[in-house]
């Protein structure tokens, strides 16, 4: 086992554990903080995949913006930080079945794939990952249309939020 594989296993285990804590934690702020840990673990996985830019963006967007927003929303809307009552409803077995089925399906699918057991080829030195990403997002041959559609969608959400919050006189 190489050092990278060992690191991946540790990071994966920590990420999964914090993901589990997000849904089982009774305290809502603790759940949000565990979510931060989960997102951070995903950022480390990106780093292990040599996608440093995506990892940094993951931290900026998900931890710097979304998780902070979650914590704000919880603090501003909830008087009681502790959740009472049962943590699962009567459909828990169906949820567990779907989760187990999805995991098994993905597992068998990936086992049949030849790339699953291959080690990735080394990235050539001087490879400009950010440049490639920028080209892919802005060239007509790449993903310019989905990129623009996603931007318009976000803009629509923004305009909608401003409209809802706008104080009509």
């Amino acid at each position: 086992m190489t050092g990278e594989q060992l690191l991946f296993l540790i990071v994966g285990a920590v990420t999964l554990l914090s993901g589990l804590m997000v849904v089982t934690s009774r305290n809502l702020i603790h759940a949000a903080l565990w979510l931060v840990a989960t997102l951070f673990g995903v950022a480390i996985v990106y780093t292990l995949l040599n996608a440093g830019f995506i990892a940094v963006v993951q931290v900026v967007v998900y931890i710097g913006a979304i998780a902070i927003l979650f914590i704000f929303a919880v603090m501003l809307t909830r008087k009681e930080m502790r959740d009472q009552g049962a943590q699962a409803n009567s459909n828990w077995w169906a949820g567990a079945l779907v989760a187990a089925g999805t995991f098994a399906g993905l597992f068998f699918l990936l086992q049949g794939w030849s790339g699953f057991s291959k080690t990735a080829a080394a990235i050539p030195s001087g490879y400009d990952a950010i440049g490639q990403l920028g080209d892919a997002l802005t060239s007509p041959a790449g993903y310019v249309l989905p990129f623009e559609v996603a931007s318009v969608l976000l803009l629509a959400a923004l305009v909608g939020a401003v409209y809802l919050a706008f104080n009509k006189k």
Binding site: N27, F53, I71
Partner: protein
């Protein structure tokens, strides 16, 4: 390749030789050497941090027409050690009903968010932690961890003043991240890279000469990010006692305090890297990496001094003023500046140097002038709305 040209690599190779000579696995030895490098950098920074306390106290004293610490040791240089001993032997209190784990992690996270920034700081062409290709975004990412530490500290202390302070600080940090990110794009446009080293290498002409407005906006956003005056409404002594760190005592408070000082110094360093040529100083960096380190530390210190100068001469502003200033003025100006700079850069790409520089400066002046003119007319209208139309009063009949 000798020690004086590339000290870090020579030292690392020497250590690798020793460790593998002991029969250690090559990968393990590499990890250990990297770990020792990080440990050395952090140790140097923490020792520097001790003296920053002294520098800060001396400078604030001068601004306030005092002498500052001068009793313990020559020029009061031993004073910070006395401060640290005091902080360590103070009682370590935890408020009742505090969220203990979160409460104790917050100061560590605060310090960590500052130390982690130094991973991407190039001290010399060959002395740097990692030349990340998304170096400037890393600043924002580390800043968001700092934001998280503040909200954790404020919430877990179980004190209403600390929560209000944390809310205010987070509002400041989240808003000022946006103009900061926009101005960070301007060195990227000029150098064609987001890596710190490439940005420094691209500065044959300091970027402050190409885009003085961007340098100014970055400084303002950095001061806000640091939570220093005039944006220190999170501490607001007269209303919130001390803000998010109110319940912390002893060295836990010390972590926040030392973190803030080192953060200010670090942002002085980033200011110099992005706009003042970093370790470059008339070819001095090519002579020796040690001279390059001296140059960048000097420039960072000058940047830190400017931040202190602003802190000790400006008054605190209110939160609504701060938010209006950011969202209605700084953010639009920063976005317009990025667009204008990108356009001018594309237009003047093949132009001779003097034309490029003067075109850039001119576009900066025009953007600044237009922004101030718009603000002036809007505030004039607002004043008229509140005070009623101006009446001409004849002074002497």
């Amino acid at each position: 390749m000798n020690f004086w040209n590339d000290p870090l690599k020579v030292a690392a190779d020497w250590l690798m030789g020793i460790f593998t000579g002991w029969g250690m696995n090559a990968v393990a030895a590499q990890v250990l050497v990297a770990f020792l490098g990080v440990l050395m950098l952090i140790t140097i920074l923490m020792v520097l941090d001790i003296f920053l306390v002294w520098i800060e106290r001396k400078v604030v004293a001068r601004f306030q027409d005092r002498i500052g610490p001068n009793r313990v040791g020559p020029f009061g240089l031993i004073q910070p050690f006395a401060d640290i001993i005091k902080l360590i032997i103070k009682e370590d209190t935890t408020p009742a009903d505090a969220d203990k784990v979160v409460y104790n992690i917050a100061p560590l996270l605060s310090m960590m968010s500052v130390l982690i920034l130094w991973a991407v700081v190039p001290l010399a062409p060959v002395i740097l932690g990692v030349d990340l290709n998304a170096g400037i975004l890393f600043i924002i990412a580390a800043g968001s961890i700092g934001t998280l530490s503040i909200i954790m500290a404020g919430w877990s202390s179980n004190n209403k003043f600390s929560v209000i302070g944390a809310f205010r600080q987070v509002a400041v940090m989240v808003s000022f991240e946006i103009p900061m990110l926009a101005t960070l794009l301007i060195p990227t446009i000029f150098s064609g890279s987001m890596g710190m080293n490439a940005i420094i290498q691209g500065q044959s002409i300091w970027y402050v000469l190409l885009s003085p407005l961007a340098a100014l906006i970055f400084l303002i956003a950095a001061i806000a990010e640091l939570g220093r005056a005039p944006f220190d409404l999170a501490e607001g002594e007269s209303e919130l006692v001390s803000g998010y760190n109110i319940e912390y005592s002893g060295m836990k408070f010390g972590m926040f305090y030392a973190g803030e000082l080192l953060h200010a110094f670090t942002f002085g360093g980033f200011w110099s890297i992005l706009f003042f040529g970093g370790y470059r100083f008339f070819g001095l960096e090519l002579v020796s990496p040690f001279l390059a380190i001296a140059v960048i530390l000097f420039k960072a210190m000058v940047g830190y001094w400017v931040i202190m100068w602003v802190k000790y001469t400006m008054m605190r502003i209110r939160i609504d003023q701060m938010l209006a200033f950011n969202w209605k003025f700084l953010t639009p100006v920063a976005f317009v500046l990025v667009m204008v700079t990108a356009l001018m850069n594309a237009l003047l790409r093949g132009a001779p140097g003097w034309l490029f520089v003067s075109g850039m400066i001119l576009s900066n002046i025009i953007v600044a002038w237009a922004a101030l003119e718009i603000v002036r007319s809007v505030s004039k209208k607002e004043r008229e709305r509140i005070e009623g139309p101006k009446r001409v009063v004849e002074a002497h009949h």
